[in-house]
Amino acid sequence: MSEAHELNGAEIVIKALADEGVDIIFGYPGGAVLPIYDAIFSQNQIRHILVRHEAGAIHAAEGYARSTGKVGALIVTSGPGATNTVTGLTDAMMDSIPIVCLTGQVATHLIGNDAFQEADTVGITRPCTKHNYLVRDVNDVGRIIHEAFYVARSGRPGPVVVDLPKDVQLATGRYTSVREATHRTYRPQIKGSPDKIEAAVAMIAAAKRPLFYTGGGVINSGRRASELLTEFVKLTGFPITNTLMGLGSFPGSDQQFLGMVGMHGFYEANLAMSECDVMIAVGARFDDRVTGRLNAFAKNSKKIHIDIDPSSINKNVSVDIGIVGDVGSVLDDMLKVWRKKCYKPDAKALKAWWGKIAGWRARECLRYRKSDDIIKPQFALERLYRHIKGRDAYITTEVGQHQMWAAQFLRFEEPNRWMTSGGLGTMGYGLPAAMGVQVAHPDSLVIDVAGEASILMNIQELSTIIQYRLPVKVFILNNHYMGMVRQWQELLHGGRYAETYMDALPDFVKLAEAFGAVGLRATAPGELDDVIEQMISTPHPVVADIVVDPDENCFPMISSGAAHYDMILGPEDKRPEVSAEGKMLV
């Protein structure tokens, strides 16, 4: 890149984005970003998607990032534009999603004066970003934007905010191209320690009751990591479970897959976790949703933990071997050691272990009471899965019971096909995320599995979806309740359903039509297949209102403060008394 002619800050922004390979940017204009919008107007390398709310922009960028493995980009104005992204930034921080969020700012000489639409954006976003910048000099714009992309995607990915004062956007200056810019010091450790890898592989080879426990880190590491993981799991013949974030890193329909682990995970996965003797944690972080009561967690196991973030290791659970490094690189090295040393798993012990697992599996933990006259939400998802199985499909979700049922009943054969707000649990995530996924994959089937409460949190994005002719499908499991919260009230608060029933809900079919989408409804089990079929075959945005049993609860469940072996399998199971500490947990 030569500096043949000078550019203004706004033009440098666009040039830097294009040089980073950004093809799509989600955004919403305002006074403090007008120069950048002007620069967007006069180019055609980057396509701008005009959302209806900045919350939509950032979740869309997340959906784009998670389904492509690339960095998601968005641009918003100062003040309210910036503050509207805070939930999404926190969401991306918790789930380690690479995002670059450009925010407008008042002119540098006005900063600190409570100017119109001024907010201390770097101050507000400091704890919810991986890093952030306030750019004070036009000559730094190019370098900082490249640095922001580097930081967002390197190591444990995360969101980065670049705050751009309006005078900086208008000043002319020099552009630093991508080859010149790196970060001065930030160099995450990629390669794992060879000694620790050798020790870990020896431990794995000697295991009698092993279990792979893998999370979002495998997906973040890239496709290759999922392939290597699959190879290793196949080679060893070990059972594997995924976290909510890790679904798709190993083929969901494979016999060695025990289903999701954790609070609403599979019985066999949780029991295997509890009774394993060697746990191989890969890109997972021993989250409280996964471990249950810590002092009862997998007590008799040796633990190996591979993670790119050293602070994840020994945070909640102390492990025997902690390997800092990119999971793809470490798995690659592990496979090499396994082959070089000609390790063989202990076939006899493994056979006994699989026998035990078969016993847990026989409990059929997802079983639910079928009905002929009311749609059970589980049944709706079973049918949905039947229709999308084997298709080129992407699933996003909102947050609640429907999300957990989707994680249980839908299976993912590949990474990057499943987008859900895991760490933060952000209602309103699914629709804009689906929009971002569809923008990146225009010809694929993209479905937001939603609850009627969550969908209302970012319903305005239907308007964006119409504008850009994105054929997103919204599959609402409408139980009239904030089901997940109602379930907790049942469990912890004597069934006093304070404020979890919505007395007035919109007619979702008419709502869809008002936006310009197709609205469908199913109220009886017999109508379900037709509605799903119609939803999928309609080449336009569709909202399918699936009216389901309002009283159904999500099982299996490890109630708060309980241990894995205390799983409740269904409504007829005896509920253990929830401890005082348990009540305190979220």
Partner: protein, 192 residues
């Protein structure tokens, strides 16, 4: 149990001297509920734009390990050194201590200052400002002695610390801690 013992640790943190870096470090401590017993910061290398933060914190070994790793995760942090576990080190604080009084008390305060090698850097007919450097404990002890003699106010820097011996920061990085970055050595970029 050994790993449930709460202990004070002195951490040295080398950071890029850029806007917001101190807020980032302090925000990390407050946001994650870690303790700050004392904190000092100043630029130590103008050419490389590096500042050194000395923070005294307390916690169990697991919490201290977390704190070090969380600090190491911040983008502008170069290196974290746990002086408490990394062998012998020197800790010093500077304090300015104002004492007011006449007669016997005034004489006694001067005498004690002499014993503690504190210097009077300001004096009026009925007051002194003493300057002293030393370990945190020594300063604490001197302040306690001044209290009955007419202690008015105290200003102190908090601890600064450094490892004993010839080894500098770049090789003194906590060995136990895989997380700690050591970019002062010319580091090659691993992968992309």
């Amino acid at each position: 149990m050994l790993d449930s013992i709460v202990r004070n640790h002195t951490l040295a943190v080398l950071v890029d001297n850029e806007a917001g870096v101190l807020a980032r470090v302090i925000g990390l401590f407050s946001g994650r509920g870690y303790n700050i017993e004392s904190l000092t910061v100043a630029e130590v290398d103008a050419e490389k734009k590096l500042s050194r933060i000395t923070v005294v914190t307390k916690g169990t070994p697991m919490v201290i390990e977390q704190i070090k790793n969380q600090l190491g995760r911040l983008v502008p942090v170069h290196a974290v050194q746990d002086l408490t576990t990394d062998g012998p080190h020197v800790t010093r604080e500077l304090a300015l201590i104002k004492v007011k009084g006449n007669g016997e008390n005034r004489v006694e305060s001067l005498r004690l200052a002499d014993v503690f090698r504190a210097r009077a850097v300001d004096s009026t007919t009925h007051s002194f400002v003493f300057e002293m450097t030393g370990s945190t404990e020594k300063i604490d002890a001197f302040i306690e002695l001044m209290r009955p003699l007419g202690l008015v106010e105290v200003s102190r820097t908090g601890a600064v610390a450094i490892r004993r011996g010839a080894v500098g920061f770049e090789r003194g990085v906590s060995a136990s801690n895989a997380a700690t970055k050591s970019p002062l050595r010319k580091r090659k970029r691993v992968n992309a």
